[in-house]
């Protein structure tokens, strides 16, 4: 709220322009274009994504046992003495190219990250919509649950769920389902933020006339929620989702590093770091440092984009 009026508030001469023109002209695009950080982050993210998608064409699958040669084990990166360009970033103790393992590992990290965020978003947005719209007992129950869960850090919740899964499922089934267990665990640990935001927005929207009009006409609640309210509450979810993606990637890496995430047979970056860590003291630093750098780059670019998005979409900063 400004104390002295806002006579010069940003004007909005968008009436009568096509959507494309409006997007190109919008504050969001302008903010993106002129922010070197956002551009840099986007470029980095794009590069990573391309590399990951093209992995099968760039290198052999390092987990294809027929390709790996154990005689090439523990070679240092190419620019050091003893290194060869066949293993640009060195090789690990099994003879796999670190570069290849990073590419495939990043792919897994991203998959788990994206899917767990999607899961959390669907769960959180769904519960938030229901809580905000229905109110009363339903709202209270959902919010109490959320409050209780919020008093525990996400990583702990994820660890507990993973632990429970480990106890409940027989060992080899757990190995095969590791990815899904992980997605479930991380998703469950992070739905609360989306639910709260969406609930707050839903409660605001619920009071508005277009909703009340639809309600009076007899439109079913589900229709109102999905077609009318949902589009209006998605803005903040986008920001939270982007930042949540970075957090999910880091969570997964952490769980894998702790040994309760993805197993060595389908390693993510976190698993790679853990395995490589054991060789740190014997001087073979590349096995853990390079996956580490890859992880940082991925998380950083997503975080930067999320940060920029939040500032750009924040009405108060305009």
């Amino acid at each position: 709220m400004t104390a002295f009026g806002s006579a010069a508030a940003h004007p909005d001469p968008t009436q009568g322009q096509t959507l494309r023109r409006r997007l190109a002209d919008s504050d969001l695009w302008y903010s993106f274009r002129t922010s070197p950080v956002a551009l840099g982050a986007a470029v980095m993210a794009l590069l990573i994504l391309t590399a990951v998608v093209c992995a099968p064409w760039l290198t052999h699958d390092p987990f294809d046992l027929t390709v790996v040669d154990i005689m090439d084990a523990s070679k240092p990166p190419a620019w050091m003495a003893d290194g060869t360009w066949q293993y640009p970033l060195g090789s690990d103790d099994q003879g796999r190219s670190v570069l290849a393992t990073i590419l495939y590992g990043t792919r897994l990290s991203l998959i788990v990250g994206v899917l767990s965020v999607l899961f959390a978003v669907i769960l959180g947005v769904g519960l938030g919509l229901v809580a905000g719209f229905a109110g009363g007992l339903v709202d209270m129950v959902i919010m109490r649950l959320a409050d209780i869960q919020l008093s525990f850090p996400a990583i702990l919740v994820a660890l507990l769920i993973d632990g429970i899964a480990r106890v409940a499922l027989p060992h080899e089934l757990h190995e095969r389902l590791a990815v899904f267990v992980l997605i479930f665990a991380i998703g469950i640990s992070s739905w609360v933020h989306y639910a709260r935001t969406v609930r707050a927005s839903t409660m605001v929207e619920r009071q508005k006339e277009y909703v009340q009009a639809a309600w009076l006409v007899g439109t079913p609640a589900s229709s109102i929620l999905l077609r009318h309210i949902l589009p209006n509450v998605l803005g903040p979810v986008l920001v939270l989702g982007t930042l949540g993606l970075a957090a999910a990637i880091i969570s997964e890496a952490t769980l894998s590093f702790l040994g309760v995430g993805l197993p060595p047979t389908q390693p993510s970056l976190g698993t790679l770091i853990r395995i490589g860590n054991e060789f740190l003291f014997s001087g073979q630093w590349w096995m853990t440092i390079f996956p580490g750098i890859a992880l940082v780059l991925v998380a950083l670019s997503v975080n930067l984009l999320g940060d920029w998005l939040r500032d750009a979409l924040n009405p108060k900063l305009r």
């Binding site: 919020l150 480990r166 880091i250 770091i273 860590n277 630093w285 580490g292 975080n303």
Partner: protein, 326 residues
């Protein structure tokens, strides 16, 4: 006010009960306590007898009540993996974790708040940008990676600081402390830095965001219009208003230090509760899992309660209207 406190305590107890229920379910229905305690050659009769003697055939609520009573008395069962009473194990490991957490927490606050205030007040200074960039890095770097990097630089390459363990400790009754020996203090350095970085970055960004928000308010504008000095406005008005909401979030963050301690302890092989917990997860040691869950909930619930009470003390609006926490 008393009503408020009582209500919060009741709420906390309720939460504890739910947690206890989850822990109990874990304890008794996931994984078979019998097969974990007897060898695989035990006969069916021996198993049945064991079940009876452990009271596993009693009704659910009877078992649950017994469980709660046990927990309250400190009897948390026996670890599957180690065979020792879980309570004793936790107590042994508690000092290590607590010392680490306290160190990291103090560091995070002592650095995070002033830096946050600085970057909020001097938005355009290059130092602000540097700190902000650093904080972004701090939030993007997973804790374990920071630990590994620190070990790589300071242990492996430079050899200045130890990479694992607690160093020498001094015992006071059941408490062991690393503060009183040189090697203990040296061992504390890298793990503390690792643990604190995430929190520090978070607190810095939080304080900064709050500061910027407060500087935009009407009462700050009015203060400027009254001709108050910059010092009075920044440190008298803005700072005080900034710190109030920061208190809650910091309280919760301090709680999450406990969770991140798990990671730090794993990286540095620090003999604390976190390491115990991870090993319990890896080996499906359910009693330890359940006990850890209960202990951690107590910790969090107490912290939340303390933060709520602190809020009360600090914000006069709440003293008049206890229900309205803005």
């Amino acid at each position: 006010m008393l009503v408020f406190v009582i209500r919060r305590i009741v709420q906390s107890l309720f939460v504890m009960l739910i947690v206890a229920l989850i822990a109990f379910v874990l304890f008794n229905f996931l994984g078979d306590p019998i097969s974990n305690m007897l060898s695989s050659e035990a006969t069916a009769a021996e198993r049945a007898q064991m079940r009876e003697s452990l009271g596993l055939n009693d009704a659910f609520y009877v078992q649950f009540t017994r469980f709660v009573a046990n927990v309250v008395c400190g009897d948390l069962g026996l670890s599957y993996r180690l065979g020792h009473p879980v309570g004793r194990l936790l107590l042994e490991r508690l000092p290590a974790t607590l010392e680490l957490v306290v160190c990291a927490g103090v560091l995070a606050l002592a650095l995070g708040v002033p830096l946050g205030v600085y970057t909020g007040l001097h938005r355009t200074a290059w130092l602000s940008h540097a700190f902000l960039a650093g904080s972004l890095l701090g939030v993007s770097l997973p804790t374990f990676l920071i630990g590994i990097l620190l070990i790589f630089v300071f242990s492996v390459t430079l050899g200045w600081l130890p990479a694992f363990g607690r160093g020498d400790t001094v015992a006071f009754g059941w408490w062991t402390t690393g503060f009183l020996t040189v090697s203990g203090l040296r061992a504390l350095i890298l793990p503390s830095i690792t643990l604190t970085l995430w929190q520090l970055a978070l607190i810095l960004r939080l304080v900064r965001a709050e500061m910027l928000e407060v500087l935009r308010t009407d009462y700050i504008k009015f203060a400027r219009a009254r001709g108050l000095s910059r010092r009075a406005i920044h440190f008298g008005h803005a700072l005080k208003n900034t710190l109030v909401p920061v208190i809650t979030i910091t309280g919760v963050q301090l709680g999450s230090l406990l969770a991140f301690a798990i990671i730090t302890e794993t990286v540095f092989q620090w003999p604390g509760m976190g390491l115990l917990f991870i090993e319990a997860v890896r080996f499906a040691d359910v009693p330890v899992l359940a006990a850890y869950l209960v202990l951690v909930s107590v910790f969090f619930v107490v912290i939340n309660l303390a933060v709520d009470l602190l809020y009360f003390v600090v914000d006069p609006r709440l003293r008049a209207n206890p229900g309205a926490v803005t």
